[in-house]
Symmetry: C2
Subunit: 684 residues, 2 copies
Amino acid sequence: MLTSALDAEKIESKQEERTANVHRLDSLNLLIFTTLLVVVVLTIWIFKRRNFRYIHETCLALIYGFIIGAILHHTGTTNTKSSVLKMNDTTFPKNPVPNWVSFEDQNMSAIYLYAFQGPYQKDTVHLEEQKAMFNSEIFFNIILPPIIFHAGYSMKRKNFFRNLGAILMFALVGTTIACLSTGIMVYGSVRAFSSLRSFFSFTDSLYFGAIISATDPVTVLAIFNDLHVDVDLYAIIFGESILNDAVCIVLANSIEKYVAGAILDQFDRALMLKSLGNFFVVFLGSFGIGSGMGCLTALMTKFTYIRDFPLLETTLFVLMSYSTFLASEAAGLTGIVAVLFCGIFQAHYTYNNLSIESKQRTRDLFELFNFLAENFIFIYIGITLFTFPSQQWDIRFIILSIMAIALARTLCIVLLSFILNLARKNPISWQWQMMLIFSGLRGAFAFALAIRNVSTHARSLMYTTTSVIVIITVIFNGTLVAPVMKLLKIRTNVREEAEPNSSIHRYRMMENSNNNRDRRTSDEVALLNNDENDDNDTTITIDARHDSSKYSKDERKQESKTWLLKKWSHFDKIFMKPLLTHSSPPLTATLPVCLLPITRLLTTKEQRTLHRNDNFSPNITSSIISSDDSILNNHQGVPTLELIDIDNVDLYSRSNTLIDTDKNGDVTARFTASSSSSPAAQLL
Amino acid sequence: MLTSALDAEKIESKQEERTANVHRLDSLNLLIFTTLLVVVVLTIWIFKRRNFRYIHETCLALIYGFIIGAILHHTGTTNTKSSVLKMNDTTFPKNPVPNWVSFEDQNMSAIYLYAFQGPYQKDTVHLEEQKAMFNSEIFFNIILPPIIFHAGYSMKRKNFFRNLGAILMFALVGTTIACLSTGIMVYGSVRAFSSLRSFFSFTDSLYFGAIISATDPVTVLAIFNDLHVDVDLYAIIFGESILNDAVCIVLANSIEKYVAGAILDQFDRALMLKSLGNFFVVFLGSFGIGSGMGCLTALMTKFTYIRDFPLLETTLFVLMSYSTFLASEAAGLTGIVAVLFCGIFQAHYTYNNLSIESKQRTRDLFELFNFLAENFIFIYIGITLFTFPSQQWDIRFIILSIMAIALARTLCIVLLSFILNLARKNPISWQWQMMLIFSGLRGAFAFALAIRNVSTHARSLMYTTTSVIVIITVIFNGTLVAPVMKLLKIRTNVREEAEPNSSIHRYRMMENSNNNRDRRTSDEVALLNNDENDDNDTTITIDARHDSSKYSKDERKQESKTWLLKKWSHFDKIFMKPLLTHSSPPLTATLPVCLLPITRLLTTKEQRTLHRNDNFSPNITSSIISSDDSILNNHQGVPTLELIDIDNVDLYSRSNTLIDTDKNGDVTARFTASSSSSPAAQLL
């Protein structure tokens, strides 16, 4: 009796010790990362202060991670050696492989529990060096979603949709071509090396082509933002790199599935078609979940008055967006695609329903998450290059991979630009093509795809090569983007005032009246620029008066929306916006009268008030302001002096459509007067 | 050659499959939690809207988790059965136990890797039901830190420090007494049951006493906030429950260490003393790290102009606070204590240096984190009651534990209140004592401590019992707090206007001028109320004029600061504040002249300007406002109409100390005028 109690205490304290050790190691690991992040933040601050903009923060994070990884590699191995028990058991059941193994200790009535970590190819894992680092689950479930969501949420939707044709072409067709051609080139050259030929199969090559074709939007775009590069070039590169991540993950999954099938059934053409079909099912399914959840959140925020409680509202927003990712992954689709489109829909609809506090909070929150997650990933890439146990170095393979991806990218950009230029009114010049090729650097996404599975020699080789390529391209291309741009004489310093759309003015007005927000980052500008530009053609006419003849922009004006986009824009205006937001005219006005019983249910009091005001337009400027204030602020009856908000400004422009256009000058004057103290107001 | 390549692909795809399955399961688990959180948010919203305040959100989260757990338990077990390989190997090395076990498969050149999960007592783990749920690492490293930090950051420091004696008495002495007496009572009654006696040792009882003595601050305080309970009672309960978490974790660790020692050396009195010494070392060490990191962050934000970039500033703030936790844990101390004091120091010093945007951002961010983390934990507690594999139910043990904790709590509250009342000028009435006893409900912390280690029968029993006690006390005490308070005739609706300190007025002024913030939550109020109250005695005199004779508050006024607190307050005023913030008078004025070369280095331009203005006091009200504006806003030369800020208001009161006191009326009048539109201003 007494011995068993003592045994129990021994087990207890051993377990305690193990937990404490794991915990301390985890804390230490996390501490290294947070300390590095602090150093990165301080360095960025110094760089910003000294206006030194050639090394981007992700590049910094990478270099710091690299240095610390090297130090850890050369110091940390001795004292953390793991002990391994190698069993050579013939009774081990392989079908299915057990999830748990327990060793019984008769003396102590204890069992030692082991959890399955997956199969590995012999000699790929160096168990002696196996350290408890973060696993890829944390990457995919925690780190990536906020980055992608932020990209969608802060996207300049107007420019994006104007260039949708080119973006889809590059992202869908271009990436597929890049994947296949890289795969074929790599496979072809691998044949030349007997050492690689033995374990690097054709499907491995294709898979490698898929993961290495994911270009990174972060570094280049930050520099583009600083340099004020032409917005169309910006939009194409942004759109391509963000959608291409999604395409790559779907391609990689399809190739994986195809691999699994190929082993069972041998090569099969039907399977290849199935794989292609799978690609579209996954893409469309994920798009459906993402946009559906976006619309659901919009409906929730529209019809509940949850905005009376900004904390609850923000929480709901964050949770709905995150569950979009999870739902999509749990359904076997691609969370990345879902969360990207969820972000776009949230920005387009839900954002308009949020309280002012929540607008600010969600922007701030995702900006912070995005910043932390991005830098975390790049530190991680740097650190693991030395500390990850499953490395497989092959310099020849790295060199030929770099050559292959450069060739593949050149091929698809030139080819697809040629095809696009046949239809585009504003053709993609060879300078832009060069820039598109040059800005195809690899980043977090390629790395995340590579580290997921390092079970075989081939996968370890892919992982190491991807790491090296990410580091080289981020440092090399990232640093040289600005000089190359100068060399190619690509127009920079396209000041946003010169842009032929009203959003900038709108932003400026907001900025001026919104005095404590004058240090906005470019991301916030991007987010603010978005709202409601797509369908307010009248505002563009207003602006044309203010800033004409800065440079010829005839082509851009003439470049009209495509048929599909026009249709969508119309549908958005008469159905989606009135249904999902508090915008006017409401559904009761845009849909046929026979549907009135339903549409009336879907129209809020705010919409009715707004619509009534719209109809009494000529002398309502002041009444709109007041009614609008009372709507936007709160429902607690406290009249407040509200910061001017996007929706407010949007209402001005909407009322302008009804007021005689001569009145526009007055409206602008009102704004200028209200923000007279700021020098930026002089630009109007 | 070819077969080996095929083998590799088989391994690859098997690994792929395993990763995909793990990932899908993880996503599904997370999805359940996010969906439940969404439901909780919506329910809270409905409750708030209908003014139904008797069921708190954590209680809701618990109940929902409970229901879903029950459903999962009865449906999910069949299809997720794990396969276990039971080995009975005599060659298994026990000293040390290997971290990894690998099984080799000769046919395929594959190895199957298993990772050590720790020793367990036979029959405690039901491997068939072992599901991949979250582990305690995520709890301790991710979920708890923001909750504790938020508690420190939003603490009403003034009330807290005024009642520091009582709080420390209850938290340090009270919790230790509760731990020991619960342990002894449980051990005594366990002797009566032969079935428990065999495996529940004395150290187990003590450990159980430690984990079950951690009271939860969340639920009761939310209700207190709603009901506007007397601030001193609030402060005592808040202070006790937040510090007592820290005490419990240190006690539990000490008992664990003692257990480990007791096995090796048998019982030893020296070891017990060592354990006590360890308690203080850990507590003070953690306090040192927490306050040190807080001060470091204050210095960083003071001497760098990182506030020009709010995103970087917020990131730095978050990272420094989090690394406090990690550093403390990695050093073998207690992160919880460290992060609590870090929060207090950040609020007291760093907060004053932050830009207005960062002030708002950090508040919003931690409020959100806190909300999510709290509800997540309670959902988790509810779900695991049914789904966690290592349960050990014993109704008798649950009942006697509940009786033991109730008795122990009554004992220490009554005993310590009696001792405290000997010295207190404002004695703790029997009603308050009843309330203190009643509000000792158990929550997230006790649960987190219990789930860390379930390796033996005794630990599993503790875990199950703790879960049940948490659920019972949260639902029972949480729901009955308001009726019991009514029954005890404890003064509620102590409107904040009636409070004899200026912070409320200050808050009101800020609120009125700060129009878009009128829907503040109680947490934010708490945060705002804090600033600089401790040492501005003048402001109290100002206020006494406005709201005298609401109720007799003589005792409270007379209740002067203790000697230690006075010393600290003085030191804070002449050294800490001038060193760590931009406050005036600067170190050059407060420290001896001989230190001038050093103090000059540590004084910022802002401080010098402020100090100069302070010296020209009689007619500087307007100049202070303008200089202060320019300091607080930004360094970009844009004069802006700033929202009135804590520091601003603080400057008013500080300037008042120099202006003839007759002027105070004017100053207040100015405020009233500037915020005339709001009805709340009438209350002044």
